[in-house]
């Protein structure tokens, strides 16, 4: 992640503050920073979203393309993730520097979506064994300000909510040859249901307590974090310990309880914001990149 230089005194200050449930910017241990979400920012994609969480800026584009289903799962489409850490985010990502972090984030995304209930993959099937929809989810890291995983998962959920997949029909003529027909109406699309798409909650252990949504400075004081991916119903789909340090078993259980609580609140507010934005329709004012 980005490098931030902290002196010992600053680290002690942050740790003591967290013990008293008071962080550097005045938040409590379980509060998120102000999150800005905007969908439909890139016109060439099937769905896109931009999320700004403090100084962290993420742009996600989803493109739906037709392809052949995997051999083991002939009745389902699938998702492919790619994460690009651009050099704008921090100078360490210049050249191939950001590749390791990009692969780590992509692998985590594959893991959290690796179950039957997150996305209804059967709805992405066009004809079994022959054609299916493949959703290429491309994540672009524009600015790195701490807590990357949470911001990326929120952006992916918003982009999938915004994705419009054109409706296709498979026509079979007398000789048995199949032809794929795209509907004439450009607004005739299928929308994915994102009810069960999980969001990642990262809890960083600082001192004896844990904090949600750590900034870069707080991440520098924390030796170990727990990453929990939780859906709106409180179902956990992935758990991972990140960092050089170790965790006490009791801390692990406390962190899991916190993630469930925080995750539920995050999901309800995200759903309400996305629905409100969609209901404004084509007349809404787009903020874009300069707002």
């Amino acid at each position: 992640m980005a490098f931030v230089a902290l002196s010992e005194a600053e680290k002690v200050y942050i740790v003591h503050g967290v013990q008293e449930d008071l962080r550097m910017d005045g938040r409590g241990c379980e509060d998120y920073r102000c999150v800005e979400v905007e969908t439909d920012v890139v016109s060439n994609t099937s769905g896109s979203a931009r999320v700004k969480l403090g100084h962290t800026d993420i742009l996600v584009g989803v493109k739906a393309e037709m392809g052949t289903p995997k051999l083991e799962k002939p009745n389902e489409g699938y998702l492919e993730f790619f994460v690009d850490c651009s050099a704008n985010a921090t100078p360490e990502f210049e050249g191939r520097g950001g590749d390791d972090l990009g692969t780590e984030i992509a692998n985590t995304l594959y893991r959290i979506f690796n179950n039957k209930s997150s996305v209804d993959l059967k709805s992405l099937c066009i004809s079994p064994r022959e054609h299916c929809w493949i959703l290429y989810v491309d994540v672009l890291l524009l600015e790195c300000g701490g807590n990357l995983f949470d911001a990326i998962s929120i952006a992916v959920k918003a982009a999938l909510f915004n994705t419009r997949i054109p409706r296709v029909r498979v026509l079979e003529d007398e000789e048995g040859l199949k032809d794929i027909e795209l509907s004439d109406d450009p607004y005739d699309c299928i929308q994915l249901s994102v009810e069960n798409v999980p969001c990642i909650v990262t809890l960083c252990k600082i001192g004896y307590r844990h904090v949600v949504d750590a900034t870069l400075q707080e991440e520098a004081c924390s030796l170990a974090s727990l990453l929990v991916s939780v859906t709106s119903k409180g179902v956990v789909t992935c758990m991972r310990k990140v960092g050089k340090g170790s965790l006490d078993p009791e801390s692990v259980f406390e962190m899991m309880e916190t993630s469930k609580r925080v995750g539920k609140v995050l999901h309800t507010s995200l759903q309400s914001v996305l629905r409100k934005e969609e209901s404004l329709g084509p007349k809404r004012q787009k903020v874009g990149f300069l707002g």
Binding site: N115, R240, K241, G245, F253
Partner: protein, 272 residues
């Protein structure tokens, strides 16, 4: 003619015939959810590596080798502020590089050696679980290389690799705070899901969720945790973590004996 690709048009990709059979009715046998498979561990078997270990648990066979500490070509970076207690500054601390490889014949389908992102993910998981245990501050500007090779996958491969890597590090004489013991779990699909400790390959493939826990037994600290799938609510995952930690504690005496035997063997081989 052998290798005449222009005339003989065959498919570009090859698949094993098992994919086309329907073996959905092969259900894993019912068993005690807390049983651990018997483990065979041997340290100090490779002559070319500083430390090595071989671990067998049921059908899973892992070989791990440690080399180093080797000097890093990183260049001179002036040390930052020294940590509390006079530790080496962060810029000068040693590094642990982990590599996880599967042999091409280890699973049901053949996998060519550059394994791709799954092996990198497991290598990162190995590194994150071993770092809390190794005293990297005692090896400034040095690099330790741990490479794990999975010879046969019989279920809970990552857990076995973690345990083998920790024994190999101890065998190499690297200073550690504690050993790291790994344990795998999986949750069977179905209406009343129970978490099974140390699953076999069949149980892992049919599972709805899987979890690997790494514990430092004496310090009682969780060194690593990696899990995914439809595990259910947090209480179910918490129960799984508890079961895994208990399994790790039960495995620890076996590893202690393995290291004692290896030390005796080394002592007998080099007479005073």
């Amino acid at each position: 003619m052998p290798g005449n690709n222009r005339r003989i048009r065959g498919p570009e990709e090859s698949q094993p015939p098992q994919l086309y059979t329907t073996d959905e009715d092969e259900v894993p046998a019912a068993r005690d959810p807390t049983r651990l498979r018997p483990v065979y561990a041997r340290a100090g078997l490779l002559s070319q590596a500083k430390g090595s270990a071989y671990l067998e648990a049921g059908g899973t066979k892992v070989l791990c080798a440690v080399s180093g500490p080797r000097q890093v070509e990183g260049g001179e970076r002036g040390g930052g502020p020294a940590g509390a207690g006079g530790e080496t500054p962060a810029a000068l601390r040693g590094r642990l590089l982990c590599d996880f490889r599967r042999a091409p014949f280890s699973g049901r389908r053949r996998r060519a050696p550059p394994g791709g992102s799954e092996e990198r993910e497991l290598a990162l998981a190995l590194q994150e679980a071993l770092e809390p245990a190794v005293r990297l501050g005692r090896y400034p500007r040095a690099q330790l290389e741990v490479s794990a090779l999975l010879l046969e996958d019989g279920g809970s491969a990552l857990a076995a690799a973690l345990t083998a890597a920790a024994i190999a590090l101890a065998d190499a004489g690297i200073e550690m705070y504690d050993l790291v013991v790994g344990c795998g779990l999986s949750r069977a699909p179905g209406p009343e899901p129970t978490w099974l400790l140390d699953p076999t390959l069949l149980e892992e493939e049919r599972a709805a969720a899987g979890l690997t826990v790494a514990l430092m037994p004496v310090l009682n600290q969780v060194a690593g945790l990696l899990g995914s799938g439809e595990g259910g609510p947090t209480e179910s995952w918490a129960e799984a973590v508890r079961l895994g930690l208990e399994g790790c504690q039960r495995l620890y005496p076996v590893l202690q004996q393995c290291l004692v035997r290896a030390a005796r063997r080394r002592g007998a081989a080099t007479p005073p």
